[in-house]
Structures are given as C-alpha cells and as structure tokens.
C-alpha cells in the first residue's frame, strides 16, 4: 500500500555522531567488562562532544535496545539510560525495529524536532549480543550467548510466528531474493557466488582500514594464504567457508558484535550557526515500511522499493542513479550489495553484479557502498548497526574517513536499514 508523504514542518540536521568500537565485552580490552550502560553512555557522550553540547542542552532521548530482555535481563531500559547520560527525567522511550533500530531512532528524533516540539534530540542504540547478563548477579558477570537460539527459536525473523515453519526465516528469503535476482538477469550460480565473495573481500578490506573493527585482524588475501590459497576467491569457495544456505557461506554473512551508536539532531538553521568549517548534514527524506519478508518473493523486494520511494519523495530525488553519491546498505548478507542497491536505483537493473566484480563499490570506485566495512566485517551490533553507517556517511560527507575516504566527498547519501525482515527504514542525507 502506498503511503502519503508530506514535508517536515522545519528542516532538521545531524549535529553530532558517536560510536563505540565493535567487539566483544568479554574479550576485547577496549570494551572489557563494560555493560550496556557504559557502551550507551560512551556513544552518546561522543555524540555530545562532536556536537559541542552538554546533556542539559538536549531536550529528549530515544533509546534503541533490541535484546534488552534476552541479553540484558531488563525491560524499559530508557529509564536507566537517561541517568547514565545526564538526562534524568527528560522525555524519551525505548524502541526497537531489530537491525534498523538506529534508522528508526533517527526517525523518532527528526520527527520530534521537525514537529517543533523539541529543538535538540538524541538517539542512542545499544546491544551486547555476544554474551548474556546473568540474572541475580551484577551485569558485568556474563555468559556467552548462543545467538541462533534467540534468532530462530524465539523470533522466526521475518515470519509471522503464528504461521512459522522450521527453516523459513530471514536467511532463507534473503538468499531467495538473490536466487531470483540471478534468474531474472541470467546469471549462473557460480557468478552469484563469485559476486558475494567479492563483496566480502571488499568489505574486509574496508574494515581493516577502520579502527572501530575489533573482530577482524587481517585481509582475506592473508587469511587465504594461511589456509593454502593464493586467491581469496577460491578460499571463499572452499570448505573453509561452509554453506549456510544454497550458495552463501558463513563468510558471506555477518557476525554479531557488542557496541553502541548515537546521533544528535536539531533544526538546520540552528545547526548552521553551531557548525563551522564542515558541511551540515540535513535529513532530507525518511522512509519506513513494515511487512513480512517471507511473503515477498523475488527481487527487488517490494518493502525496499516502497521505503526508498518514501525517502526519495520527501527529498525530491528524481534520478537516484545520478543524484546519489554514496549508499550505505544493511549488509547482513553480501547479496544485498546487488539486490538492495538495485532496489534503490543506485545501480541499474542487473548492473550491480558486474559493478561489484569490477571494484566499483570500493571507496576509490565510482559507486562506493559501505566504506566502513559494514555488518559483514566491521560487525553487527543489532540496535546500533545502522548508526555506524550513518556516522560513516556523515564522516564521508565531512571528509574525515582517512584511507577509506571516497574520492569525491559525497553530498547526497542514501541510508538503508533492514530490521529482522520486518522493516525497511531509509534516509536521504544531504550536505547543506
């Protein structure tokens, strides 16, 4: 069903972003012994510092926390997090739309400011996914999590649990979309496998250039050599990348991580007065669809198309192929570099597979995607996931990405978030 899209009552921009490194609070020294509270506060305090604001300056907060019950043993965590960032008794609430929670948080914050109700809003998102708090003990006492139990038994991602059947959840229909994509454009299964391997190699290279990535330690060239392969493409086709689907292997998909992201928004005219010497990043359009992925056969998926259409309508984007300089996708599966980018019109129908093989999605390419390393290799913190891509986009637009920096500093960016196969949240960011 089509949605009527209006315009914001006033323009809103991002004035601060903050993220933690992505790793494991039980392993990585940078995060060791931290609970959700410290991670959330870390990201929010970084965003405040980036914006040049103190907690008292901010009017409201939105807390994205997906696995608060299962991993943290606590509901309504916004109540405690408000005090952890110095915003005790300010308005706010906890929300979740799984892996696109941070885009939903951006939406909440933007709407609060665009409506005129508040001037400055913060959205912070956090999850610890690799371990569970132990009920009855202080929460730095944790036991390793079995993520598959949470995903499959409890949630049947992308499916209505009422009509759930074993094995039909999110990985099946996301890979199914790629199979349908290949069939539509006449690609062989080998071509499809090569393309997702190429995406993984590009993503790992980007993550190795990102100091936030604690869970990877070497490029695929070096990893492949350790296992006796001169070519990482052959390594990714070998038994060392076991299949989890019909064609996709473990290394074509994401691993979860612990981490938090945050952003602060305010009216654009206020942002222009506060920010000097770097572009102000306006939220030019927002899109959001709610649906069940298991009822969306083929590619492109209609909930992607509709979400992007909403964002483009609001932002006045007529030709995304020409107008978008950079795209950030939710790359929990490598095939999204083909199926999702084409759903957005960032690539022409059937073009993305060749673009990937030709290296065009790399930071130095003409159509860069996920220069951060994304979910495939930077890591997947669930609630905060898209916050890392929003932060990366802002840094790219401000020329702060170092050896990941896109050649032409992007001015118009599309953000994509996919939440559990149930939500597609999108946003157009524009330098003003």
């Amino acid at each position: 069903m089509k949605t009527r899209i209006g315009q914001f009552a006033r323009s809103v921009s991002i004035i601060g972003v903050g993220v933690t490194p992505l790793g494991n609070v039980q392993v990585n020294p940078e995060l060791k012994d931290m609970t959700e509270r410290e991670l959330f506060a870390w990201a929010c305090m970084e965003a405040m510092e980036d914006a040049g604001l103190e907690a008292k300056d901010i009017d409201c907060l939105y807390v994205g926390h997906v696995f608060s019950e299962s991993h943290s043993g606590q509901i309504s965590t916004s109540g405690m997090f408000s005090r952890w960032i110095g915003m005790n008794e300010k308005p706010g609430f906890r929300h979740e739309t799984a892996c696109c929670t941070a885009v939903s948080g951006l939406r909440h914050a933007v709407l609060a400011v665009a409506s005129g109700m508040h001037d400055i809003a913060i959205s912070g998102c956090v999850d610890i996914n690799l371990s569970n708090a132990m009920i009855g003990l202080p929460p730095f006492n944790r036991t390793p999590a079995v993520f598959e139990d949470v995903l499959y038994d409890s949630n049947a991602l992308g499916c209505d649990q009422a009509y759930w059947y074993p094995g039909g959840e999110i990985m099946a229909f996301l890979e199914g979309a790629y199979i349908a994509y290949g069939k539509k454009y006449g690609y062989s299964l080998d071509q499809l496998i090569d393309a997702i391997s190429k995406c993984s190699i590009n993503s790992r290279r980007n993550a190795m250039n990102n100091p936030l990535a604690l869970l990877v330690s070497e490029n695929y060239d070096d990893e492949a050599k350790k296992f006796g392969f001169d070519d990482p493409m052959n390594y990714l086709k070998s038994k060392f990348n076991p299949l989890i689907g019909a064609i996709q292997g473990f290394k074509h998909t994401t691993g979860v991580a612990d981490g938090a992201s945050a952003l602060i928004v305010c009216p654009t005219d206020m942002a222009k007065k506060m920010i000097k010497g770097r572009p102000v990043v306006e939220i030019a359009g927002l899109g959001m669809t709610t649906s069940s992925g298991y009822q969306q056969p083929g590619s492109p998926m209609s909930f992607d198309i509709e979400s992007f259409a909403q964002s483009f309508t609001q932002a006045g984007i007529k030709d995304p192929y020409k107008e978008l300089d950079y795209m950030a996708i939710h790359d929990c599966c490598a095939q999204h570099y083909m199926t999702v980018t084409e759903a957005a019109g960032y690539f022409k129908p059937g073009e993305a597979l060749h673009a990937v093989m030709e290296g065009r999605i790399a930071p130095e390419g003409d159509k860069p995607v996920n220069t951060s390393g994304g979910r495939l290799n930077l890591g997947h913190p669930i609630a905060g996931a898209a916050g890392y891509e929003i932060a990366e986009a802002v840094w790219q637009m401000q020329g702060k990405c170092g050896n990941r920096q896109i050649k032409k500093q992007p001015e118009t960016v599309l953000i994509h978030g996919l939440g559990a196969g149930f939500h597609v949240a999108s946003a157009v960011l524009r330098a003003v």
Binding site: D149, C159, A162, A172, G176, A180, L243
Partner: protein, 132 residues
C-alpha cells in the same frame, strides 16, 4: 461490531482436516494467505474462508543449513518462495528434491508446484512439491 475469529487455530484445524484455507475479500476479491482479518489490498473487513487451489510457481529457493535445537529435528531442507495462483506469496518447505541438485532446481525456475501438507512434531504445516 467486530466479529473476531481465532484465525490461527482455525487455519491449523483446517490443515488437520486436509484443507489448505485462506481468506477471500468479498469487496475486492483479493486473497489473504495465511489468514489475517483485514484485506491488505482494499482494507475490506468482510472476508470469507475459501479453500486454496493448491497450485503456484516456485520463484526462488534457499537451503536451510544452519539449524538450532528446533530445526535440527527437521533436518536440512530446501525452503522455497512460492507465488500462489490466487496471488499471495508464501515461503515454505520443498518436499522430495535432492539437496545436491541445486543447479537443476535453479534451471527449472520459475517452476510449477502443488501445495501439500506435512506432518511434523505435533502439528501440520503447508509445504509444496514440484510438478513433474
């Protein structure tokens, strides 16, 4: 006055009787499968139970290799996306096709299928088979 029904229970009860049922909107004729009480095509709320034709097209597939403690009871299997003849799409288990023949299955897409009913651990659910 809304007259709500226990749709989920009724759907599974129908499966026990060997019937694959959906809801048809009396206003626009669109189908809701599996059943929900409001038409997602026209917003109509007057829907009637109808037996589905039991046919469709297999659009794509995956193989579920990563199994948790529930799925391991059912084993590795193809999962396919089926567009039903009546319109709705559904993702379901493909019965009786060799897991080592993914290229053959890919070549056959889009393939005609018949819906079926499988018995699992205490309940029945909808599956499908390729037509010969």
């Amino acid at each position: 006055m809304v007259k709500m029904q226990p749709y989920v229970k009724m759907w599974y009860d129908y499966l026990e009787e060997g019937k694959i049922m959906g809801l048809k909107c009396k206003k626009c004729g669109a189908y809701e499968f599996p059943p929900v009480p409001v038409c997602n095509s026209c917003s109509g709320t007057d829907l009637e139970w109808v037996e589905m034709k039991g046919t469709g097209k297999l659009i794509s597939f995956s193989i579920m290799q990563l199994m948790d403690k529930v799925q391991v009871k059912y084993g590795r299997r193809y999962i396919g996306q089926v567009q039903l003849t009546e319109g709705p799409a559904f993702t379901a288990t493909l019965e009786d096709f060799d897991l080592n023949k993914r290229e053959e299955l890919y070549d056959r897409l889009p393939a005609d299928v018949n819906l079926g009913i499988m018995q699992f651990d205490g309940f029945k659910f909808v599956s499908f088979k390729l037509k010969d």
